[in-house]
Symmetry: C2
Subunit: 336 residues, 2 copies
Amino acid sequence: MEPEHVTLRDVAREAGVSYATASRALNGSDRTVRKENADRVRAAADRLGYAPDLSAQAIARGSSSTVALVVNDIDDPYFSSIAAGVTEAAQEAGLIVTMAIADRSPGLELQIVRTLRGHRPRAVIIAGTRTTGSDTHTALTDELSAYQESGGRVALISQPELPFTTLSIDNYGGARRLATALAGAGYRRFAIVHAGDDIRTSADRRQGFTDGLHAAGLALDAADQIVTDFTRAGGFQAAATIASRRPEAVFAVNDVMAIGLMSGLRDAGLTPGADIAVAGFDDIAAAVDVLPPLTTVRVPLHDLGRQALELALSGSAPTHVDIPVELVLRESTPKT
Amino acid sequence: MEPEHVTLRDVAREAGVSYATASRALNGSDRTVRKENADRVRAAADRLGYAPDLSAQAIARGSSSTVALVVNDIDDPYFSSIAAGVTEAAQEAGLIVTMAIADRSPGLELQIVRTLRGHRPRAVIIAGTRTTGSDTHTALTDELSAYQESGGRVALISQPELPFTTLSIDNYGGARRLATALAGAGYRRFAIVHAGDDIRTSADRRQGFTDGLHAAGLALDAADQIVTDFTRAGGFQAAATIASRRPEAVFAVNDVMAIGLMSGLRDAGLTPGADIAVAGFDDIAAAVDVLPPLTTVRVPLHDLGRQALELALSGSAPTHVDIPVELVLRESTPKT
DNA sequence: GGGGGCAGGGAATACGTTTTCCGGTAACTG
DNA sequence: CAGTTACCGGAAAACGTATTCCCTGCCCCC
């Protein structure tokens, strides 16, 4: 009924050799095995449908063949692009990805890292929304340090305040250049839709944008800085306030918020791109399919995921890599 | 320098008990251990930063705490929504998800399933694009059968021709009802943008749609059935042909294709919803953010992922579950 | 006070691999 | 032809945990 797992022993018996020989024949060992025996073993393995137990391999070899990935929300294109890059690179390296979703909760993130550590992954990649100053902050640092000291690799995405290898998106610079460009295009009265400053990414982008405006001699009223959720729904909700303030241009600190905002504005009777300019950040795939196409700042998310894994696997000392971004002007911010 | 992993033995020594006792104290065992000892063990574990080696646990217990998930492209909202549902349910069950990306290649999918089997996951969920009649088809069936017979659970999404637990989206019925609705709205000349019939999902939706048209007394010229890739790019490319044929309404067999098509049409000087109606299938999040909002057929992707995992874990005999879909008429197909 | 039960601790074994060590055979070298 | 390699097979240890089995000591009951 339940044919217990076919094990290396079974293969060896079937092939008429010791299981040491079988082991050597089936995976790359430095020891060579006579061709005839090797063939017999492989044939037996095929016949029996043998698949090596990766847990047993991991424990015997002392290192597993997995990498751990923590994201906030796999259904958000920002994270799914990163995940795609990480997974792609992992598969090329013959590694398997274990993925966990932190649901934007630092507590959950910490708990996840704890659990994942039990897998003894070769590397752990965290693409979270680091919130500054929380108490779980140091707990996470401790956990990752312990992991790193026992030989694990860590790479973080956009959390430069932690003492690990980090890939930093140029959030500040990108937002600042965006502000400069919009001011140059003739816009004068702005609003910004952002999340709480405890979310680093949001805070940096907001700061970059306002600094860019200042440099152009423009200021931003507090009432025109609308704080909401870091999601599409957040952007959508902000539309009501924006509609009542009627700025000439709005910067939403990421594309999903910007897209939600555009839908919300339309519901309020305003046409994005005509009545009001809208810009976002990230250049997710959907940015080019909304109408009007969204002005944004391109972040090479897919590559970012790739690089994060490659950097982690390379095993270099903790380092910081700056990921350049690129301004992408589209019709949502027409020249005035 | 490299403090080797702290193991159960270390914890036991630190706590002054045998490691059998430590093992019993740290995870739920049927055996009870004196409270004083249990506390000492837990304290020691905390102090040393002990995390149980899940591989070792898996091999000792004979069952791991992971589930395997295979998707075609995590960066596609269809799959990322499913993945979100699967992962959510897995985390609630205390399980960890290992994810692999098959990149729409049956061969790769097979290879992945082989590798994943080595993890001895509690369940494997496959959300692929089953292509009918390929030679890897039976190889995959064999592989999954072997896995299932050794105690594993399998759940597939929309691949009803395989002898495993399957969640079938009502692709045919949804597309057929869509056709009926569009015909009822007054459209007469149609086109379909679809993928090759080797992709079951595409074939079923195409068939449902044309059958629906037939029932309404309408027919579809072969030249109005455009075959292209099952992706946004595929839809985009199809726009040129559509623009030259100028049907009144186009059905793209999924939303990402429909959205690509809309962008392509616009580039060709046609306004979707005004010059030409467009409908898709899936109701991905972006469907409501494009302009005009996309008429589509809603598939509860997130729930689908959840159910797939729950069904697999429940361990019932292989069964087929029908996932109902819902027509969602939006402005991309205005009443004529 | 003696016997039976039971709670709980520890030694040892099992899990499925890899890898070290040992031994034997065949092929070279001088 | 003897001695040294090179090659290769097998026995056994190791990895970190769960679990079985045994043993001790205590409590309870008659």
